[in-house]
């Protein structure tokens, strides 16, 4: 058993004390509370935490409870985990800027905010592809924990296209295994025209309700222009706006009113956030963009406004 202090561990990870407490309360980090803000965790749980967040154990002052072995079984068995290497397949080859240019300098791993999570970092991901461990890479959750933020790419001296590469890795995963609700959102958007599958009638009712609020807020002539042919600007939304915070749309409506803009919101296929980008699925992305284009043609608008 190991004794930790929430504050020390949080400082070490650069997170807030509350975050560590949330992990403990939520069961992510099973721990037993002791006196004086200290917690007791098992060797195995601690080893797992270190692996997940890339913590260097030797840099932490740890207190072991008497009688517990310092080396855990978990740590020794890592050594047996020597991977087979194979050739690189054509699936991750299409771009020479993915991997072949990499000089393994590690700059990307240094810049990535989630290096160490799951024992991974961008350089390792590239190496796995180059050394033919691509099945492991595709099966790994790490490329989905990456936010495609591009910090890694920005520092790469060889201009390796790490973000495009990781997106490609996502795209190679069996669609049934895409994490969370991303794939569902993509299918929903292709079928119903928005990521959350909000029906057309509900959407129109919501817009009318918001329109009433606008009139109460000092825009007496306001009407939401739904499907107005010939409007200059076609506005798209993030389905979260319609679902979780419709009032936020009013900011835009006030700006349009002030600017005297001729605008419209389509009653269908108004989703402007393309999750195909995140699932690495170009075909789906194209289908979703196609729906927007169809709207533009149907209503004869001249400008398409994307929500973010």
């Amino acid at each position: 058993m190991i004794v930790i202090r929430v504050g020390e561990l949080a400082d070490h990870l650069g997170v807030h004390r509350n975050t560590v407490r949330n992990w403990i309360n939520g069961g992510k980090l099973p721990a037993r509370q002791m006196a004086g803000k200290r917690y007791l965790i098992t060797e195995n749980d601690f080893a797992r935490l270190c692996r997940e967040f890339g913590i260097d154990r030797s840099s932490l002052k740890l207190k072991y409870l008497p009688g517990s072995p310092v080396m855990s079984r978990e740590m020794t068995c890592q050594e047996k985990d020597v991977a087979e290497i194979g050739g690189r397949s054509a699936r991750l080859l299409p771009d020479a800027d993915w991997g072949d240019a990499c000089v393994t300098c590690g700059s990307c791993a240094g810049a990535c905010p989630i290096s160490g999570v799951d024992g991974m970092d961008p350089r390792k991901a590239i190496r796995m592809a180059v050394l033919g461990r691509e099945e492991d890479l595709i099966a790994s959750q790490w490329p989905w924990k990456c936010t495609l933020c591009g910090k890694c790419e920005e520092v790469c001296p060889m201009n390796v296209e790490i973000v495009a590469f990781l997106r490609r890795v996502r795209g190679l995963r069996d669609r049934k295994k895409v994490p969370g609700s991303l794939q569902k959102g993509v299918l929903m958007c292709l079928e119903k025209g928005n990521n959350l599958g909000i029906p057309r009638e509900d959407f129109i009712a919501l817009l009318q309700e918001m329109g009433r609020e606008m009139r109460d807020e000092g825009y007496p002539d306001f009407e939401v222009p739904i499907d107005r042919p010939g409007a200059n600007l076609l506005v798209t939304l993030n389905s979260k706006e319609a679902f979780a915070e419709p009032a936020a749309m009013k900011s835009w409506w006030k700006i349009f009113s002030a600017a005297g803009e001729s605008w419209t919101l389509p009653s269908q296929c108004w989703e402007g956030v393309n999750w195909g980008l995140y699932t690495g699925d170009d075909e789906a992305m194209k289908g979703i963009v196609g729906n927007l284009v169809a709207n533009m043609v149907r209503l004869g608008c001249r400008t398409l406004l994307l929500p973010e």
């Binding site: 975050t19 999570v117 933020c149 002030a258 600017a259 400008t303």
Partner: protein, 166 residues
């Protein structure tokens, strides 16, 4: 879009919310009052408007949003690093729709530290993911004492013309 729908795309143009706001302000189609946001304000560069747009389209939106923010909130401060070196809020890449909450919050620790060090009272951003991450995760998990607004929310709240009542 122009890659897939060349023919149709000839008939219209695609713009971002930042393009539109800059256009309105520059042409004087809307006017803003800079006295309503006197507190120190900073801007968070969303990865997709900044760094990733720079890479994909050869143009990143770095100065335009800052210009808009300054029109509304003249007391402006930048975080460090910013622009193409900005830290991600932690919620990009569709991670909101995945179960990886702990990783999302962990990733955001660097942004939270930057925000705290900026001493700003407001942070403005132009991305829904970023805004939600800062409001509902970073502010709570890292005890940040600041407000978050969308860029267009800031502009709407600063509008001079508009409702007859104001």
């Amino acid at each position: 879009m122009s890659r897939w729908f060349q023919e149709e795309a000839k008939h219209f143009k695609v713009i971002s919310v930042i393009d539109l706001l800059v256009d309105y302000l520059q042409k004087g189609r809307i006017r803003v009052d800079s006295s309503r946001h006197p507190e120190l304000t900073t801007y968070h560069d969303p990865c997709n408007y900044g760094r990733n747009s720079l890479k994909a389209f050869g143009q990143g939106y770095f100065e335009e949003p800052r210009w808009i923010v300054r029109q509304c909130a003249p007391q402006f401060v930048d975080m460090f690093p910013d622009r193409e070196g900005s830290y991600c809020c932690g919620a990009g890449g569709g991670i909101w729709a995945t179960p990886f909450k702990e990783e999302r919050v962990y990733h955001g620790r660097l942004k939270a530290r930057q925000l705290k060090q900026s001493r700003a009272r407001w942070v403005i951003t132009s991305c829904h993911n970023c805004r939600d991450q800062i409001v509902s995760s970073l502010c709570k998990e890292y005890d940040l004492d600041l407000g978050v607004k969308y860029l267009w929310e800031l502009v709407a709240d600063s509008l001079v013309t508009g409702p007859a009542v104001s």
